[in-house]
Every structure is written in C-alpha cells, then in structure tokens.
C-alpha cells in the first residue's frame, strides 16, 4: 500500500549502541546512506572481469511465516557492469502464478532492467541459487 507518507528509517537495537561508536556509525549512517541510493564502496576487479559485462543474479527461497508451507522467492541483481547499483524483487509462491517457474521469469526481468539502466546488454549472465528445487530442473530442461 502506498500512502505518499513513506519515510526512510533505520532500526537500531540497544545492543548495537552498547557495542560502541563504530557499530552505531555502521548501522545508522552507512545503512541509511546505502538505502537512499549512495554507493559506499566498490570492490576492485581486474579488467577482464569488468570487460566481461556480467549480470549476476542471486535467487533465494525463504519460508513465509504468514502461510505455512509457502515460500517467498526473492532475487537481486546488479544494474550495471561495475556492480554499483542493484535491482531486487520478490514473489510469493502461493499467490503468484508466475512463481511456479520463476527462474526464467527472474532472469528475463533482471536482464531487461540491466539493459534499461546501463544502456548496454550483458555478455554473460550468471545465476546463483541457494540449493535446488524442482523448478530449477525444469529450467535446466528448457536450456
């Protein structure tokens, strides 16, 4: 639900404050800065890696505490070849019909966003997934 009243916020536990100044800075300043779209740092990679124009997609399945036995499929990918910004999304495996064969749909969605944001298409797409499920087997059959 969108109300137009959304505000960026950051939760910090009292435990964090007990840890000292560095923890508070990490939790509050850095996370807030990242949330509003700042790039805090970029790991250096060799020219062959950056020239390979890689789209890296991570897919994770988490249990849904609202519906027993159902899963939340979440994904995240880089928007540019230099890995400075990210694209993410999720779907509920119970209500969303697209979630039945989600890998192909996620790859396609992330690919379109990469092209939109960076103005170039990737040379290589790397899909990373935690474990394996039936839908992966279906996807590998499609390949």
């Amino acid at each position: 639900m969108r109300t137009g009243m959304e505000r960026k916020s950051q939760v910090s536990l009292t435990k964090t404050f007990e840890k000292g100044f560095q923890s508070v800075v990490t939790k509050v300043l850095l996370q807030m800065a990242a949330k509003v779209g700042n790039v805090l740092w970029l790991p250096k990679v060799s020219p062959p890696v950056s020239n390979a124009r890689i789209l890296l997609i991570g897919i994770e399945e988490t249990s849904n505490s609202f519906e027993q036995g159902q899963k939340v499929v979440s994904y995240c990918s880089n928007n540019t070849p230099c890995f400075d910004t990210f694209y993410s999304g999720y779907m509920h495996s119970s209500s969303d019909p697209a979630a039945k064969n989600y890998t192909a749909r996620i790859v396609s969605e992330c690919l379109v966003e990469f092209v939109k944001q960076s103005g170039t298409q990737p040379k290589n797409v790397i899909v990373l997934k935690n474990g394996t499920v039936k839908c992966d087997l279906a996807f590998s059959n499609e390949l």
């Binding site: 639900m1 969108r2 990490t26 850095l30 996370q31 990242a34 949330k35 779209g37 805090l40 970029l42 790991p43 250096k44 990679v45 060799s46 890696v49 390979a52 890689i54 890296l56 997609i57 991570g58 994770e60 399945e61 988490t62 849904n64 505490s65 609202f66 939340v72 499929v73 979440s74 995240c76 990918s77 880089n78 890995f83 910004t85 990210f86 694209y87 993410s88 999304g89 999720y90 509920h92 969303d96 192909a104 396609s108 690919l111 379109v112 966003e113 298409q121 990737p122 290589n124 797409v125 790397i126 899909v127 990373l128 997934k129 935690n130 394996t132 992966d136 996807f139 590998s140 390949l143």
Partner: protein, 138 residues
C-alpha cells in the same frame, strides 16, 4: 531473454548452485598448530568432484573453524577465462553495504536473503515497482 538477446550479440549463461552450510572444513598448517585459511582461499581440486565446482572461503572467521561456501556450475555456455568466475565471486563478497569486510556469499545472494526474510516475516503484499532499484531492505 531470447528477445533481448536477439537485439545484439548473444548472451552467455552460467547457472550455479551454492551451499553455504557445507560440512567441509579446511585448515592451514602453521607450526606448531593449525589455523583457519585466509579469506580468498580457493579449493578447486582433490576435495571437489569431477564437474566445475569449488570451495571458496571469502570471510574472516574469528571464532571456531571457518565454513567454506561450496559452488557448483550446473550449466554453462560461456567462454569466460578460467579463474574469472572465482575472482568475480570473491570480489562480490566485499560488496555488501551492511558489513565493512567480506561476507561468505556474494552480495546479491545476501541482499536476496535479507529481502526474503523481511518479506517472509513482515510484509504480505506485492512488491512495489519504484522501490526495486533501492536497497530499502538492508
């Protein structure tokens, strides 16, 4: 994917699975005892199978034996040079904005996990399109 791929050059695909709860342990002999291997340790022979698979230790462990992350490529039509994939994965372990050092999996995996946990425990609605380019969940 095929519709985008038709516009320009072909796009190559690598599909990998990872296991962050692998039971394998690696140690580095350092007289007179053994210590945890340094972050960046890659094991791609002897302890792995015949396929394209490897263990990567990206994180620094200060307590107990470090848990390596296991990666297995199940499909690849890419001609990436040997070692580039491992280098990219290791570099991406430093790209997680919630932690100043390296984590055990690439940042995109940890972001996906964080988002999944938030949605699975707190949110019960469809994702909002204009927030998809922000790390609102970290």
């Amino acid at each position: 994917m095929s519709s985008v791929g038709r516009v320009g050059a072909p796009i190559h695909l690598i599909y990998m699975l990872l296991d962050k709860n692998s039971s394998q342990k690696f140690f580095l002999p350092k007289n007179p005892e053994v210590v945890n291997p340094m972050p960046g340790t890659l094991v791609n022979s002897e302890a792995v199978g015949k396929g394209f698979e490897f263990y990567l230790i990206a994180q620094q462990s200060r307590k107990g034996a470090v848990k390596p992350t296991f990666y297995r490529v199940i499909y690849s039509d890419s001609a990436l040079e040997e070692g580039l994939l491992e280098e990219l994965i290791f570099a991406q372990c430093f790209n997680y904005m919630n932690w100043l050092g390296s984590i055990k999996v690439p940042a995109v995996m940890q972001y996906a996990k964080k988002l999944g946990t938030l949605v699975g425990t707190q949110v019960q609605q469809k994702s909002v399109d204009d927030m998809k380019n922000q790390l609102y969940f970290i």
